[in-house]
Amino acid sequence: MHGPEVTWYVVLAAMLFVIGALGVLVRRSPLIILLSVEIMLNGSNLALIAFARHVGREDGQIFAIAVMAIAASEVVVGLGLIVAMGRRNVELDVDKLRTLRG
């Protein structure tokens, strides 16, 4: 295989995942959080495809395509929620949305 070994790709994927997790944890706007979730999903996609290359079969790529489809559906629902919140003039701040506190 030319170029870096699969290990490098997986480490890169891990870094992407962690960056996405950080974004989810430290941002207050639901939009940015949703984008960070996308980054996390992309990170795991990269890992899947890297492992598919390592194993020599395309099953990992199939998985990655499925993940993409699911991510798309999730973004639809998430954006729908955000639009609904915007329509009702709810402030787009996760820290203020605490009705489910125990």
Binding site: T7, S29, I49, R53, D59, A66, S73, V83
Partner: protein, 180 residues
């Protein structure tokens, strides 16, 4: 020679990937964050190509970049003023420390697991045929081994579409409700 070229491409793509990811997480204007994400997707597509996933790279650009990100940008534009400020998290500082620690821990563990513990198991990848990752191969797998995944995914997409419609229409009929 080919190895060197691939390495250069890899470094460039990886750099763009990380940089755009950091940009997504750190920009305060969500519009710019969304654009950064598009950049992230593009660099990832390059990486997929390097890994022999031609179809996946194309799907990434078309579906993710062409559909999902467009939707994002549309919503951001629609919300307009309301999304001007996307501030950082408030809250007790111990949570920030804990967050960084947890994230760092996960990263470290993955690196340790993959790079060190795998015992060299990831070092030699097999040679692959030219048709690895081609649409034909993907299509064959989808319609034979992973048919159920294929069908279920399409159902999920349908459900998501219905959900989107419901969310959209709900807002219209309940216009003027008090804030929750």
């Amino acid at each position: 020679m080919a190895n060197f070229v691939v390495w250069c491409v890899w470094v460039g793509a990886a750099f763009c990937c990380i940089a755009s990811a950091l940009a997504v997480v750190t920009f305060s204007n969500p519009f710019f964050s969304a654009l950064a994400l598009i950049g992230n997707l593009a660099s990832l597509a390059v990486l997929y190509l390097l890994l022999g996933g031609a179809f996946v790279a194309a799907a990434q650009v078309l579906v993710y970049g062409g559909a999902v990100m467009v939707m994002f940008l549309f919503v951001i534009a629609y919300l307009g003023d309301k999304t001007d400020q996307a501030p950082w998290a408030s809250g007790p500082s111990w949570q920030a420390v804990a967050t960084v620690l947890a994230a760092g821990a996960i990263l470290t563990e993955i690196i340790v697991a993959v790079a060190l513990e795998s015992g060299g198991g990831l070092s030699h990848s097999p040679r692959i045929a030219g048709s690895f990752g081609s649409p034909a191969a993907i299509g064959r797998l989808f319609l034979t081994d992973h048919l159920i995944a294929f069908e279920v995914t399409s159902i999920v997409l349908l459900v998501a579409a219905v959900g989107g419609v419901v969310l959209g229409s709900h807002a219209r009929s309940l216009q003027g409700d008090a804030r929750s």
